[in-house]
Symmetry: C2
Subunit: 437 residues, 2 copies
Amino acid sequence: MKKTITAPRRPSGFNEYLPPEQIEFNRLLDIIRGTYEKYGYSPIDTPDLELSEVLLAKGGGETEQQIYRFERGKNDLSLRFDLTVPLARYAAEHEGQLVFPFRRYHIGKVHRAERAQAGRFREFYQCDIDVIGSESSIIDAEFPAAINEIFERFGFGEFTIRINNRMVLNGFFEGIGLASVSAEVLRVIDKMEKIAPGELVTELEKVGLNSEQVEKVLAFTEISGTNDEVLDSLDALTIDNEMFCEGVAKLRQLVASLRAMSVPETRFKIDLKIARGLDYYTGTVYETILNDLPGVGSVCSGGRYDDLAGNYTNTKLTGVGISIGLSRLFYKLLEAGVIKSAQQSLAKVIIMLLDETAIPKALEAASQLRAAGVATIMHTEPGSIKKKFRYADRMGCRYVVVIGENELATGVLSIKDMQTGETREAPLNDLATLSLR
Amino acid sequence: MKKTITAPRRPSGFNEYLPPEQIEFNRLLDIIRGTYEKYGYSPIDTPDLELSEVLLAKGGGETEQQIYRFERGKNDLSLRFDLTVPLARYAAEHEGQLVFPFRRYHIGKVHRAERAQAGRFREFYQCDIDVIGSESSIIDAEFPAAINEIFERFGFGEFTIRINNRMVLNGFFEGIGLASVSAEVLRVIDKMEKIAPGELVTELEKVGLNSEQVEKVLAFTEISGTNDEVLDSLDALTIDNEMFCEGVAKLRQLVASLRAMSVPETRFKIDLKIARGLDYYTGTVYETILNDLPGVGSVCSGGRYDDLAGNYTNTKLTGVGISIGLSRLFYKLLEAGVIKSAQQSLAKVIIMLLDETAIPKALEAASQLRAAGVATIMHTEPGSIKKKFRYADRMGCRYVVVIGENELATGVLSIKDMQTGETREAPLNDLATLSLR
């Protein structure tokens, strides 16, 4: 009977890695998770599939077109496209059992049927932290502080966390008589870095701004300098608007808090152009740029919103949070050569047999090492010693232990350090004493 | 404008936990992952969605009915229903780049549209290890050894890893002239514990066994005793069949290997009735029972198969592995009261402010603690001190630090241990010295 072979392949836009890259990806995930936990966030894990009616309660929008949605039996189901809507559903569904302010982190895959292109995946990880139901904006400083720690530990070079406050923006527009079109103006500003200055004016005029208003908006967005200079420039505008003044005060507080938390001044920067498009941000907004790879765009963004779960509950739950899009970041940094893949295996030691009589002692040695916390591979394949060493080399394990007749007779093992080329000896029954970490 | 509220709910059969349970679930996942890594397995992570044509290359079967399958654009997509078929696809797709024997672990969610019932979820975690392309059956001992370590660290009480070898079964049937119906006989034996002895005979007769053969099969399945006794009883059968003898030898080797790896004799047991239904197992098979909760069934099973990726490549890749179904296990143990949920938060310390002047120092203190690796919550909400302590209590943090005017003036902080009721003091600028772990 002839076998039928199906070509092994994945749907377009769905990525996966070989172990050396996966090991490095997981190392970054662990840094994120460890930091989120250190900042006091609790884990949650929601289903990949939600009821479409619930997931799309907000309705409309660009994302709706990108949702993987299908019917199964009586259910209309959708794969979640982010972790924020499931968080809103979760917070509302379990409102009575959660302790507010509710701090959660969530690391999981989301799906979007985007147009496939390099580094733009249809399945990717999001790594989110949010605080739900907090009345205090002091905690807004925690997110850049956590991001600072994470990216510092990543070691991808310098980065800048851009901060702004939507109240400054909205208050400013209100102050110069543009309250009714502020959303449209914000959308134009959000595109500012991507379009030519002339085009910017045209777009602002299209929204209905007169030339005086265009000038004021341009002057506003041109404010720059150190964080203190920007705050002083905002004060100097003497905008007579309550929301504006409150926004500036909160921005000032955020800067002071980040200093109190020892976040280096070079790492955070007020950028009045940051609006983060989405309509629901109402306070602080964040985005993060890698200084050496600005083309990657924002690798981590978020902000504060007044009413997170309004579609699911009448309780007004505030939210503030930030999200790292690790899949895209990882892919881009791998492509740029900034991330180097790790070795094939996490194991430090590989134990090889010269003949079958060595099996019991080899198993014993492996158990001892593992009990001492040393990741160990038992390599029991038949073949020449040369072939075995080649395997050890390809796996990238640092130490190689060979057990044969000679070792059994003397009770002494040789441990070869593949990095230094040195060979050490240890008693067969006490390998763990070598502390091969 | 009246708001429309959509009831926040999940599709039936899709589970999620509150933080106290999630923290405990994650602790177990970490034990599994840490052990798998210590045994030298490398991580992989494959897409949740596969091309239906590829996922269902094997065709037919019960599982096909349970697959979440849908069309999107030109693609016919399916959510994976286990991690073994994606592993076969992965091994074949990346055959040229992988190092064989390929040891991988994979922890991820899978989806099956099963009939919804308590503890039977439509989305659940599988935690798998497999070795692909190994010619040596010595490594078969690694799986019970790893499982022994994991379940010991779980601390759910005693457990038994039942082992068998399909070559013993198949060789036995061949030896007594039942080779052509061995699959059917195995299926009956696999159900043995669930049906009455009389029914068993009827079912065997239905398969076409004469009374002599029925008696031999019953005698075979009644072999019991210690591992050595069972092995001796198998020898005593003097079955003149090569496969049978090889199977018994491998089983004997497995027992010896587990002893060499110091797996307690009470934890593994040859059980000749174990066949693990699936047609493709060809060697060692495993399943694991919790001694105090046998009703939960096998919580961890697997085995060896000759041809893992035969649907995707002409290369014959052997496979041997084991899988822990953590979602169901966790749910059942939670239900039985064996697993206790953890506290609301992983944080050890909660820092509270008496007034806004304390903000900078409180932020500084939080940063110091976190830099020292102590998970810390900054609680900046307004409200009475009583309300604040109530929050600390509900979150389950062990240490509470309150910062107000007095603390700022003296430069000395009080740290209250919520477990012992004791209060300790520390200088405001050097909280980390307390080692509040």
